[in-house]
């Protein structure tokens, strides 16, 4: 049993810390360092020191990572999450052997490949073909390995036609696609990825994400993935490391890490009131908005089965066609849906009279999964360029799971995936075909 477990640990990070010297490293030139040395020798002031010597903060040391420890097991896809400067890049650099930790120890089983950038070492003068081989070799592939995968790489990149053209003639999209294709076909037990996914057009991005998913889930490789996109982390990873000022509690669930990253202080607010007068020339304005529960009371927290009523009070100042609408965004920043007043009066013949209106819309219960949500409100006119009023972050509310049978969607299910956006009660039907097993040809 012990043995099986040992086999499964593929990366062991023990008490890794990394110190950087703040300010300049030396004076960057021999002359400077010599001058400094000579000045000190004579007991004079350092000619390169900052004025006011007690400025220790700027010339002190900075710990980019402090005592980081964790184990990675085979087949895990770990997301590394943290704000800028939390130490993500430093951790990746140490794991990918670009720099040495100041203290601690790192042990790895198997080949480790890191992709901190696509197209490292691409030479603009070489052809696509030549660059595939060169880039492959830089990433650690042998010539034979690249040869074996060459067709696959070219296929994936979609630049087959231009493979013998110097890459400096490529469009930037083609360039990046080729570079990513090489990287995606790297064979290593452990793969380290920086935010290189956000490349190319939407279609190619989807292809990349699909490939990453394939690598992680089907090929059983271990993946470390750094991203600011909570959506990608949630869809790719099953565990996460949250870094804050160089420290981490170790490996936690993606949900916990995302919550920690997003700040853990979600402010709920079920009521909005315009704070300013309509500006001159404005044709319509949102005056007020509120969230009501089924009994008509103001609320910010709803059970999954509860209907939510969104009430928007707006002012049609100059008698124009107004389409009230809203956008629902969840805590992870994913736009869950947009919805607008319908039917839309496209011909514009039925203008709304000037005056104050109240629009009410029902977000049905047994539809959204438990989460925190933000509502952006807007008054549009149906033309894409004209918008009378937009109120971002107007309302904030939470939906919680009451954990009982009132959630029609739950049925008798015990657990539920927290990362699902919707948790709808759908209409299910069944019929009994026979008392015995029948041919399986639906």
């Amino acid at each position: 049993m012990l043995n099986a477990n040992q086999m499964s640990v593929v990366v062991r990070v023990e008490n890794i810390s990394k110190k950087y010297q703040l300010g300049k490293i030396g004076t960057q030139s021999l002359k400077g360092d010599l001058q400094r040395w000579w000045a000190r020798k004579r007991g004079k002031e350092d000619p390169f020191g900052t004025i006011g010597k007690e400025d220790s903060g700027r010339h002190g040391e900075f710990w980019a990572l402090k005592d980081v420890s964790f184990d990675l097991h085979q087949g895990e896809a770990i997301g590394i999450i943290g704000k800028n400067g939390a130490g993500k890049s430093t951790l990746l650099k140490i794991l990918s052997r670009i720099t040495l930790p100041t203290t601690g120890r790192l042990r790895v089983k198997g080949r480790i490949a890191s992709l901190l950038e696509v197209g490292t070492g691409f030479n603009p003068d070489l052809t696509g073909r030549e660059n595939i081989f060169l880039n492959g070799a830089i990433l650690g592939m042998s010539k034979r390995e690249v040869q074996r995968k060459f067709d696959e790489i070219v296929d994936f990149s979609g630049v087959a036609q231009f493979v013998d053209t110097p890459v400096k003639r490529y469009s930037s999209g083609m360039y990046v696609r080729l570079a990513f294709a090489v990287a995606a076909h790297l064979e290593s037990e452990i793969l380290i990825l920086d935010e290189v996914l956000a490349v190319g057009d939407a279609e190619f991005q989807k292809k990349c994400l699909g490939k990453m998913d394939d690598v992680a889930k089907r090929q059983g490789r271990t993946i470390l993935f750094v991203s600011h996109s909570m959506t990608s982390v949630q869809s790719l990873c099953n565990k996460a490391i949250f870094l804050k000022k160089g420290c981490t509690p170790g490996i936690i669930s993606v949900r916990e890490a995302v919550d920690a990253y997003l700040g853990g202080d979600f402010k709920i607010q079920g009521y909005y009131k315009a704070t300013a007068e309509a500006s001159a020339g404005q044709q319509a304005q949102i005056l007020e908005a509120k969230l009501l529960n089924a009994s008509g009371n103001l609320s910010e927290q709803f059970a999954t089965f509860e209907d939510i009523l969104l009430q928007i009070k707006w002012w049609n100042i100059s008698g124009v066609k107004v389409i009230p609408n809203f956008m629902l965004v969840n805590r992870q920043g994913i736009t869950v849906m947009i919805a607008s007043d319908a039917p839309i009066d496209w011909d514009g013949s039925k203008k709304r009279e000037p005056g104050t209106y109240v629009s009410t819309v029902k977000i049905p219960g047994n539809f959204l999964n438990a989460n925190d949500f933000t509502i952006h409100l807007a008054l549009d006119c149906g033309s894409p360029r004209v918008c009378y009023d937009v109120q971002l972050d107007a309302l904030h509310f939470s939906i919680y799971d009451p954990m009982d049978e009132r959630s029609l969607a739950r049925g008798e299910l015990v657990s539920v995936r927290e990362d699902a956006i919707l948790w709808p009660a759908l209409e299910w039907n069944y019929e009994k075909l026979s008392g015995i097993l029948v041919e399986n040809n639906l």
């Binding site: 040495l100 930790p101 790192l106 901190l116 070489l126 990433l139």
Partner: protein, 298 residues
């Protein structure tokens, strides 16, 4: 219900003796001095050949003469020297045709100096790649040596052609059988350049101006090597000074084995070889330490 994580709730085994042989990579904050992984370097041999290829191919894309440009520089330099130092200053060439006298020295020196300079600048020149991908950093200096060897090979071919031309036209030159040992001389020059270059590489990452200083010193050192004058013309009094330069025996010997003039001593050659071994070993150690932290200071 749907779970895609592999559950490993068992406590990780902590016994170091049990697991030590499973790890394929073990990185500690303070690596041992002699931690040079030659096996790993061998695995990256394809990368070395591809980089050499890139250097060669990319340099001559969209040129008409292509690799022939490798010949123009030493030829032009040789003709210039032949005119200035030979025709104008009348410095002796030990009775040899001036072009034949200057060309091998210039060729060997260019090889030595380019290799040394490029190697010494390894970390600055490759900061972009080194900061993003790991591979044994020694790949780069080795590829540099090989790239320069190709240029040397072309220039050497030119030299051989010239020797033949002069020989056919009846000029008095003696190609000795020792000419077959030319690869050993090239090895000496290359080894010295690689050793000194790697030795200096860690310092140039910290002090950029050292690279400039190096450029100037290399130019000066060229005149401290018997390239535009034969060693025989240097008075006994100062000869020891030139003998300190490990490139002196290499150039002198090269001229001796191909053209039959010059002073060769086994002792001096042994001195060069010893310098090569010392700088190579020392350079490898320094480089090995520098490659792990260089990216923090580039």
């Amino acid at each position: 219900m749907i779970s895609n994580s592999i559950e490993t709730n068992l406590p990780a085994d902590q016994s170091p003796t049990e697991e030590s042989n499973h790890w394929t990579m073990d990185i500690q904050a303070n690596p041992r001095l002699l931690d040079i992984d030659l096996k790993e370097l061998w695995r990256y041999r394809d990368l070395i050949s591809l980089i050499v290829r890139r250097d060669f191919v990319a340099a001559y894309k969209q040129t008409i003469l292509g690799p022939l440009w490798h010949l123009t520089e030493p030829l032009v330099t040789t003709l210039t020297y032949a005119f200035i130092f030979g025709f104008v200053a009348r410095i002796s060439t030990d009775g040899l045709p001036r072009i034949l006298f200057y060309l091998p020295g210039i060729t060997l020196w260019t090889f030595f100096s380019n290799t040394l300079m490029n190697t010494a600048g390894t970390f600055n020149a490759n900061a972009g790649i080194f900061g993003k991908v790991y591979f044994p950093r020694l790949v780069m200096p080795i590829a540099t040596v090989l790239s320069n060897l190709i240029a040397l090979g072309l220039q050497f071919a030119l030299f051989v052609v010239l020797v033949l031309l002069y020989y056919v036209t009846g000029t008095n030159i003696h190609v000795t059988p020792y000419a077959l040992a030319t690869p050993l001389l090239v090895l000496l020059a290359g080894g010295l350049a690689l050793g000194m270059g790697t030795l200096l590489s860690s310092v140039t990452t910290r002090y950029r101006d050292l690279h400039k200083l190096l450029q100037v010193s290399m130019r000066l050192l060229m005149f401290g090597t018997p390239i535009i004058y034969p060693l025989s013309q240097v008075s006994e009094q100062y000869r020891w000074l030139l003998a300190l330069n490990p490139m002196t025996p290499v150039v002198e010997t090269f001229r001796y084995v191909w053209l039959g003039t010059g002073s060769v001593s086994g002792g001096n050659l042994l001195y060069s070889a010893a310098c090569m071994v010392v700088t190579l070993v020392w350079g490898a150690l320094v480089f090995n330490r520098a490659e792990k932290v260089a990216m923090d200071s580039v």
